[in-house]
Amino acid sequence: MVVVEGVRFAYPPLSPEVPAPWVIDGLELTVRAGEWLAVMGASDSGKTTLCLLLAGLAPHLTGGEMTGRVVIAGRDTRHHPPPALADTVGLLFQEPEAQLFNPTVEAEVAWGLENLGLPPAEIRARVDEMLALLGLDLVRYRAPGQLSGGEKKRLAIAAVLAMRPALLVLDEPMGGLDPAGRAQVLAALSDLRHRDSATIVMTESDPEAVALFADRMVVLGEGRVALAGKPRDLFLQLDRLSALGVATPQMARLATALNRRLGTDFDFLTVDEAKTALGECLG
């Protein structure tokens, strides 16, 4: 679904004398169809830029300099600018304000569907489904500007998911949400992924969410892939992740601390796994 080959990217320089740094600097990445990939990394490691590259917004909208290629479902983003990718890629920006502009919540979700040229009955059905799934029923006639931060975020997610893109690119989808809101978004993503067999690339700083849901994760450092693998294999490497500025699940830290103290070899990442493992040990 996604192939990123030898990509370097720099935003346009702030002044002509100072060359802009390579924000992405030799990135190699492939994502299989149907995979849920989490992208982690310190601030300024290139996570948001990677999202913009996958949607073709970089370099088409941002300008700047790019080498290498990004291929989405067989289409090179150099030759297929964002409108030509819109039927395949759905992008969620980190700040929901960046993508909300319709007069009502309902219209916001319907807007993309109208642009796809779907019949009105289909649009109504998808809008109802998304508003229910993300808990926005009660605010459907409100203006997006009047919503709370968490509601805005969920609305932006609903609008992207309603389009059922084959590739979902989500930049910090849980950022700023309360714990219940995070659970709601993860459940919605999980549902749709199974139903529509969507591919998900999500930057995320909450390691608990990554441990529960992602098939695979990559950690970016200095604009390239510093570590890649299954969450279980990576999250137990606490020191390497910490050096890359990445948070680790509490359960992974507990497993590591217990192994050190008790000589055990726990590898749990979630509360349920820890319950089972410790239950057997204590039972």
Binding site: L14, D44, D178, P179, G245, A257, L278, L282
Partner: protein
């Protein structure tokens, strides 16, 4: 010295008529306490915090800071006592360079310029900002701008810190650095009130947690007490951190303790294993 450094009594506030966000909030914080304020998105955490530095004023009821009614005082006067960290650095930063941004507060305190310089230099060093002191804040990344706002507070060193989601958008290193600084301020006697959605931080750092729900303080006590109130947690959209959930699940095996941090739970599990062998 007032007995309570922060007080709200029957505080009502709304942005629009007939839509009160705060519906009779009453709370008292003694000097030196480390308090977390939690609640769902839209529950009014920011609206409440802004009452404590005069950015918003009560429509009914009263707010007192160090014993004085905020209604009688200007935002400038209150800035000497209350350091306020906005949720987004954009809301806070307005000076043309990082140096000037950090110097703004101490200058307004009327300190001699050598003292202002010392404070700025110390704060920039503390947050690793020496390299960007002459740059405009707008060109810096989010995490760096967040550090600029923290350095501004550090240079003021007010007795009360009111922090609105201080760790949002920070990477792990930034989060640990921020919490370490807040912990240091608490250790030297400053009063801390911070709003957050991160229950692991609440469990690990707060002495007391206030739950804002439907415009009122729905729970008030140590974090471990809150995490036992399942019905309230669910109503207020709160979920205890993984360590606390695991500690609960291990209680039937004889685990003692609340599991408020990874280190604490590790000690508790090790003690349990040793007792049983």
């Amino acid at each position: 010295m007032a007995e309570w450094i922060l007080e709200a009594s029957e505080l009502w506030f709304g942005y629009e008529e007939h839509q009160p966000i705060l519906r009779g909030v009453t709370l008292r914080v003694p000097a030196g306490q480390f308090v977390a304020l939690v609640g769902a998105n839209g529950s009014g955490k920011t609206t409440l915090l802004k009452q404590f530095n005069g950015l918003l004023r009560p429509q009914r009821g009263q707010v007192r800071v160090a014993g004085q009614d905020v209604a009688q005082r200007s935002v400038g006067e209150m800035a000497r006592q209350v350091g306020y960290l906005f949720q987004h650095p954009e809301q806070q930063i307005f000076s043309p360079t990082v140096w000037q941004e950090v110097a703004f507060g101490p200058r307004n305190l009327g300190l001699p310029s050598s003292e202002v310089e010392d404070r700025v230099r110390e704060a920039l060093a503390r947050f690793g900002l020496n390299g960007v002191a002459r740059l405009p804040p707008a060109v810096l990344g989010y995490g760096v701008r967040r550090r600029v706002t923290l350095a501004s507070l550090a240079a003021m060193d007010p007795p009360i810190l009111v922090l609105d989601e201080p760790t949002v958008g920070l990477d792990d290193a930034g989060l640990r650095e921020t919490m370490a600084w807040i912990g240091e301020r608490h250790a030297v006697g400053r009063t801390i009130v911070f709003a957050t959605h991160e229950m692991d931080l609440v469990a690990e750092y707060a002495e007391r947690v206030l739950v804002l729900h439907e415009g009122q303080i729905a729970a008030d006590g140590p974090p471990a007490d809150l995490f036992r109130q399942k019905e309230l947690l669910s109503r207020a959209s709160l979920i205890p951190p993984p360590v606390v959930l695991l500690a609960e699940a291990l209680r039937p095996y004889g685990l003692q303790g609340e599991g408020l941090s990874v280190d604490a739970l590790c000690d508790e599990v090790v003690a349990l294993v040793e007792r049983r062998s």
